[in-house]
């Protein structure tokens, strides 16, 4: 069984195209080709996940509790993200199939459609928050809401224009590197090196908060780093890029590089907002405006605040690209007989491109609805991702252990222990928050 399935996959995959860059990167060692290999789905998934709500979540942690427990916690969530994203990349390189396609074929229609529906709903909610982030960032510079929505829609449409994955990836990667502007904001915020070292060494001081508020920030930070769309995206984009078993080392480096870069940017957003805690700023005054950028201006100055607003625009823009793409890949993989690649033109893969652009436009339209509960959507986007993540992780773990398709590349003991621990941690955190919310809703104030 192992041999026959492996043989089918290897044989068909031998015809995989768009491998020129991969070949050049491995064999000719040209700098451009090496960078092309390094900046790929792993970097995009990680930096794409440093999206609007994620950066706001890290900033909220810093503004609410100061430099302490959440700084090392954020780093741990990125380490967890590396573990699960590496599995998704490995599945793609070995099987040549996307996540949705594999779930559909190996577990049947029910789980295939459930996974895809789960993803599309989460993605739509998240995309709304990305448009909100772009709107908040552009609002800081006086751009009206409709202008931000138009920019977001045009970006997604323009990126997929031309029918080439490599072109789409280069545009997204170029934008994603600007995620590091948050490092500049952190420099303006001048965090105390002593407090940073103390937090990293002791995981303290611990937040002084009620269990419900603490859980909400924990779950929100997990949802800011480990989400279902990342699995769908990295696996499908790795297939689209043309990765094979030979590319596994590059894929791991690519994913690790993404995790390191994203962790630096995430911690920078946390540190950038920490002065708000030290100055006892009431963030509820800024919820309707440009938020953190406005609140930070009197403390870290206009240049730092402007950088924060620019960072929000970038975070929202990159996530618009990657999250729309993950929706398109998912739909393309579960609907039989349709194209599902950026290498296909509009006429060759109409459903793929319609989903990609349609999701972005729909999110933009929701943001423009007068009186839409945008604040509630923003707050709950990461929570929703955390609640639905265990489902995605269960399939990822089962498939990564499936020797019939993975052969010698199936998970070993260490990867399984790490993977199962992450799945349990995410499930427990999500379920605990759901239970606290449920108890609160029925009037039981236990915390």
């Amino acid at each position: 069984m192992t041999q026959s399935l492996g043989g089918v996959i290897e044989g068909s995959f031998a015809g995989q195209v768009d491998r020129r860059r991969g070949f050049a990167g491995r064999n000719r060692r040209r700098l451009a080709a090496m960078i092309g290999l390094l900046v790929g789905p792993g970097v995009l998934a990680m930096l794409g996940e440093n999206d609007g709500p994620s950066m706001l979540s890290y900033a909220t942690s810093g503004a609410s509790y100061g430099v302490g427990f959440f700084l090392p916690f954020i780093l741990v969530t990125f380490a967890a993200a590396y573990v699960v994203q590496e599995m998704a990349m490995r599945l793609a390189a070995v099987t040549g199939r996307g996540y949705g396609e594999l779930v559909f074929q190996r577990f049947g229609r029910f789980w295939g459609w459930t996974s895809a529906a789960d993803l599309v709903v989460t993605n739509l909610v998240t995309l709304v928050t990305e448009v909100i982030a772009i709107r908040l960032g552009m609002g800081f510079f006086g751009v009206p809401a409709w202008g931000a929505v138009v920019c977001a829609g045009v970006l997604v449409a323009a990126a997929s224009w031309g029918g080439r994955y490599a072109r789409w990836e280069r545009l997204a990667a170029g934008l994603a590197l600007f995620n590091l502007v948050f490092v500049g904001v952190a420099v303006f915020a001048r965090p105390s090196p002593g407090a940073v070292v103390h937090a990293m060494a002791t995981w303290g001081p611990l937040p002084k908060a009620g269990a419900a508020a603490f859980l909400m920030i924990v779950v929100s930070n997990i949802g800011a780093t480990v989400t279902p769309w990342m699995l769908f995206f990295q696996q499908s984009a790795s297939v689209d890029k043309g990765m094979t078993v030979r590319d596994l080392p590059q894929g791991r480096r690519n994913t690790a590089a993404g995790a390191v870069l994203a962790a630096i940017a995430g911690c920078a957003a946390f540190l950038a907002a920490a002065p708000l805690f030290a100055h006892h700023v009431d963030m509820s005054r800024y919820l309707d405006g440009a938020g953190f950028a406005q609140a930070l201006r009197p403390i870290i100055g206009a240049p730092g605040a402007s950088l924060f607003a620019l960072g929000l625009i970038e975070a929202g823009a990159v996530a618009m690209l990657t999250i729309s793409a993950s929706s398109a890949y998912a739909v393309g993989e579960v609907v039989k007989g349709v194209g599902r690649s950026f290498d296909a033109s509009l006429t060759e893969a109409p459903l793929f491109h319609a989903t990609n652009i349609g999701m972005a436009l729909l999110a933009g339209l929701i943001v423009l609805i007068p009186g839409a509960p945008l604040l509630a959507i923003s707050i709950n986007a990461n929570l929703l991702a955390t609640l639905l993540m265990p489902a995605a992780l269960v399939f990822l773990l089962i498939m990564s252990n499936d020797r019939a398709i993975m052969g010698e590349h199936a998970n070993g003991r260490v990867r399984n222990v790490l993977g199962v621990s992450i799945a349990v941690l995410v499930a427990v955190a999500g379920a605990a928050y759901a239970v606290v919310g449920f108890l609160g809703a029925i009037g039981f104030k236990a915390f």
């Binding site: 577990f107 419900a212 690649s341 290498d343 265990p390 269960v394 809703a441």
Partner: protein, 53 residues
């Protein structure tokens, strides 16, 4: 085949057969069903009674 056409061409992989599930995988999927049911029920109930702020 031109370079552009070659770059667009993608092989169609044959579908894989359903995965034979062992005891652990079946237990994991059952747990997943229960988890999703529980979360959905709680989310609906919480939504109907006002989401926490």
């Amino acid at each position: 085949m031109s370079q552009a056409a070659d770059l667009r061409a993608r092989p169609t992989l044959p579908p894989l057969p359903p995965m034979p599930l062992g005891r652990t995988a079946r237990a994991a999927l059952l747990g997943l069903r229960l988890f999703l049911l529980l979360i959905t029920a709680m989310a609906v109930f919480t939504f109907l009674h006002g989401a926490p702020r």
